[in-house]
Subunit: 257 residues, 2 copies
């Protein structure tokens, strides 16, 4: 089977034009086939403030009401996604920017209301890997933002780390998939005070014990949890890494079961 | 050759959710292959106002500065395009939302500065019809907004009527292309005071004499001018019509050379 590289890039890299350009240059140099999945960055918050919208929080969780969703669609699917596509095209990568509604590729339902109504947030039900593969087969490089849809006309805000994991799983039968969560450090850190000391490898057991003893940063948990799901779903390799090790994985953190 | 239907839908229909839904229902019922191209509507102006941006005009022409372009990309490529895609998917059309940067399909240059610097406005140089056809061949229905790019990383605001014309021309060797400019009337009106009386057919000569005697609405001129270009570029049929005659063309205005 061919190797398919899937790179997820987080919000902090998106916020910094110089770092984003480095990331896109590194991504352009990866051999096809490849997929980029990106988070949102802080522009959505800035736009909400400019528009005078209130950020709605319940128990520290952000609630996606209709106005917030509009902003997310405008920023993630519009500004961020299409700017990345234009930049990748300028470097020679034949990018095509997508939400989960495009081609009905990422099908979700509005998260069921339990204690909290998160609003217009999508829980993913199905990813149509065959349609992604068809785009790749005819020469396109898919670039996904973190918006899905409910197949009834409603777009839904969705976690980008989760999208990366489920997209990777949907292609595991067609390719040897390598999924890399790319962020501002070289890998998962032993300690936030020492950004040069990365952990070589994290097993599922180590991950759970790190959660229990509080030694893992809260922001890392969704990446590792989604990474473990990806491995369980047949993805060949999952790593947490920085821009510099998109190719070599030196210093990166490999996730294993 | 197969017939390819290309429908361009204007801003006023986009602004009205009920009319837009009627249009999308009618579009869904058209047999494949088909392409939708949409204008922007007034949301971009509303968002600019909410953000406190000034609309910059020179000699009655709107200037696209960097802030204005950001708004156009957010609204046209984000909110409007992806809402249309999600709605079409809910009706059963396998829509995929695109700018001209996606797949490097619509290549433009920033309009050269003559007397006026229009800013980040694209003059189209080339449309890659083969890449559009590839998307159609693997089962997608392209939905274009009016954003192109310069292949150097810059997105550009572009006239939607022109995009419809050049996209249609780019596919004229592969299909019998029927291009319909769909708007709020059934066709070109003899007089704005009598919206039921449409002109059956407009030749290039009649079009120019209507411009000369001032009997044509200013908003109609780009549609007809782009429609005539489309016919000269090999498009089989060009019409100006309303939602009700997307299929039958009764009362619609046919353009001819």
């Amino acid at each position: 089977m061919n190797t398919l590289q899937i790179i997820k890039v987080g919000g902090k890299l998106i916020n910094d034009p110089i770092e984003l350009d480095k990331l896109l240059t590194a991504f352009d140099r990866i051999s096809d086939p490849k997929i980029l999945i990106h988070g949102g960055g802080r522009k959505a918050t800035e736009l909400s403030q400019q528009m005078g919208l209130e950020v709605k929080m319940i128990d520290g969780r952000r609630i996606t009401d209709a106005d917030t969703l509009e902003v997310a669609v405008m920023v993630y699917a519009g500004l961020v996604n299409k700017s990345i596509v234009a930049q990748l095209q300028s470097k020679g990568t034949n990018a095509i920017g997508l939400t989960g509604a495009d081609g009905n590729i990422i099908q979700a339902i509005k998260r069921p209301v339990d204690d909290i109504d998160y609003g217009l947030v999508g829980d993913i039900q199905y990813v149509d890997g065959q349609r992604i593969k068809r785009l790749i087969d005819v020469g396109f490089c898919p670039v996904f933002c973190a918006i899905s849809h409910d197949q009834k006309g409603q777009l839904l805000n969705t976690n980008a780390d989760t999208i990366a994991s489920v997209v990777a799983q949907s292609l595991a039968e067609s390719y040897d998939v390598s999924l890399k969560y790319c962020f501002e450090y070289d890998g998962v850190l032993h300690s936030i005070d020492d950004p040069d000391q990365t952990i070589d490898s994290i097993t599922e057991d180590l991950f759970h014990s790190m959660i229990d003893d509080g030694s893992i940063n809260a922001g890392m948990i969704p990446k590792l949890s989604n990474g473990i799901d990806a491995l369980k779903g047949g993805v060949a390799q999952v790593a947490v890494c920085g821009i510099h090790n998109l190719k070599s994985l030196d210093n990166a953190t490999l996730i294993s079961l």
